[in-house]
């Protein structure tokens, strides 16, 4: 089977081998978890914990389920999957989420 070495690495994503299975079949279930879609983000949402009222609006509106609640009950962004749509920034009722330009 032909293998292509992916040359570019983005952020913390390790160089990965793409195996060209016949007909592009993906034999391992759930492999999309390995694909970090956050790499194409232009703006990153940053939650200011001091302002956050824990209303869960950002968690509900995120189209990619990239907002998670940590063990201490704080709302956080999973930057591996956040594509930077900024819906959370727009919807936050107390303006507790800033947008910051990604610099690579």
């Amino acid at each position: 089977m032909t293998k292509v070495q992916r040359k570019e690495t983005v952020g913390d994503i390790k160089a990965q081998q793409i195996e060209l299975n016949l007909g592009a079949v993906i034999k391992k279930p759930g492999s999309s978890m390995d694909y970090h879609t956050g790499s194409w983000r232009t703006f990153r949402p940053v939650i200011i914990q001091e302002k956050c009222i824990k209303c869960s609006t950002c968690w509900r509106v995120c189209p990619d389920a990239a907002i998670f609640v940590d063990k201490k009950g704080r709302y956080n962004v999973n930057y591996d999957y956040c594509k930077g749509c900024l819906t959370c920034v727009k919807e936050c009722p107390v303006d507790a989420i800033n947008k910051e330009l990604e610099e690579k």
């Binding site: 292509v4 992916r6 060209l20 007909g23 592009a24 079949v25 993906i26 279930p29 492999s31």
Partner: protein
């Protein structure tokens, strides 16, 4: 067993003999008799298969994806505008490397609406990754249909294949056909197996996105499979000949009277029968003429064609289709591989226009005179 059947029934018999399990069908003239016969076989208990009465040809082709992924040998048939409606799914079947087999009862594309034969439907899909074999007789339809499964399912190929048969000229004409025995076909064509199937206990993803870093790799694999198919088609033809007793040229190209020929006609499908009849007549008068019948349009057998035309003084290519704004596609492709050869291209038999012995004679006369009198055989 010899039977007098029309080519539509010959195709249906071959589908039954190939032990096809799923047939998503949507009828359209002139392919309709094929699903009709298959429905008869299923209803009479002669064939153990599921016929899906889909709502369109687009759905028929889509259902092939699911049925093959579930591990079932599958079949459909269509023509003309029905074929055009399938178009979106054709490259998906080939890209997913699914060995579907389809009979295309060739009919032109509207407008003006016309139910008769030319190769516009199938030839216009030449770039969509399907193997395309063109049959000349009802007998060849039975034999080629069975070979199509052998070729498409070969692990080196794993591509869909269409068998093209001229609408009405074959589909609705009764001929004596020698139908192979089930035991012979079972020996030639083992049961269909697939490594990757839809299985809840072993989930896999089929038809995912291909990003720019992998997409070209997949296309290259398809092209390599097409190249490998050249040899597989030849082997299927010779193995069939050995097992069942009939073959068609080398499987890719069929040559008639080409040994010492100076002039020849090249075409696909039934028009070659007319050309052979005229060539035989001219041979009796001492003219050195022959006929090249292209059986495999995709993959395109470059080496075999170059060898066939090597000693010719002139070749006429008869296209039953025109790429409007350019030329006959067959003519264009032959031109590209025979730069030294004197080549005439003719557009013939569009929308059911008969290609007569007189037409063929005028083409041979043109070749002999070294001057093409006309481009459209009307």
């Amino acid at each position: 067993m010899k039977s007098v059947v029309e080519a539509s029934e010959a195709v249906a018999l071959a589908v039954k003999l190939a032990r096809v399990k799923v047939c998503p069908m949507y009828p359209i003239t002139p392919s309709t008799h094929i699903p009709e016969r298959i429905a008869d076989y299923i209803f009479d208990g002669e064939m153990d298969a599921e016929m899906i009465h889909v709502e369109s040809e687009h759905s028929a082709a889509s259902a092939l994806i699911g049925s093959i992924l579930s591990g079932a040998r599958s079949f459909t048939a269509t023509s003309s505008n029905g074929f055009a409606l399938m178009y979106e799914i054709l490259p998906i079947l080939s890209g997913m490397r699914l060995p579907a087999v389809m009979a295309v009862a060739n009919r032109t594309l509207a407008a003006p609406i016309n139910i008769w034969n030319d190769h516009s439907d199938a030839v216009s899909a030449r770039d969509q990754g399907w193997i395309q074999l063109y049959a000349e007789s009802s007998q060849e339809c039975v034999d080629t249909m069975i070979q199509c499964y052998k070729i498409a399912e070969d692990k080196k190929v794993s591509l869909p294949a269409m068998m093209c048969l001229d609408g009405f000229t074959l589909t609705h004409v009764f001929e004596n056909v020698d139908v192979p025995e089930q035991a012979q076909v079972d020996k030639f064509l083992p049961a269909f197996t697939r490594e990757d199937t839809l299985d809840v206990n072993n989930p896999k993803t089929f038809g995912p996105i291909g990003f720019p870093d992998s997409f070209m790799g997949f296309k290259k694999q398809q092209q390599d499979a097409m190249t490998a198919a050249l040899d597989v088609i030849k082997k299927a033809n010779s193995y069939y000949k050995k097992q069942i007793g009939r073959g068609y040229g080398d499987g890719l190209v069929e040559l008639t009277d080409m040994g010492d020929a100076e002039y020849a006609i090249l075409g696909m499908g039934t028009l070659c029968g007319t050309a052979k009849a005229k060539a035989e007549e001219l041979r009796a008068k001492g003219k050195k003429v022959g006929v090249i019948r292209l059986r495999s349009f995709r993959p395109f057998p470059v080496k075999e064609l170059q060898a066939a035309v090597k000693n010719l003084k002139g070749l006429a290519v008869l296209d039953r289709h025109i790429s409007l704004g350019s030329n006959g596609p067959l003519f264009t492709e032959i031109s590209a591989i025979t730069p030294e050869l004197k080549l005439f291209g003719y557009i013939a038999g569009l929308g059911g226009k008969d290609i007569t012995l007189k037409h063929i004679e005028s083409v041979f006369t043109d070749l002999e005179k070294g001057k093409q009198s006309r481009e459209w055989l009307m």
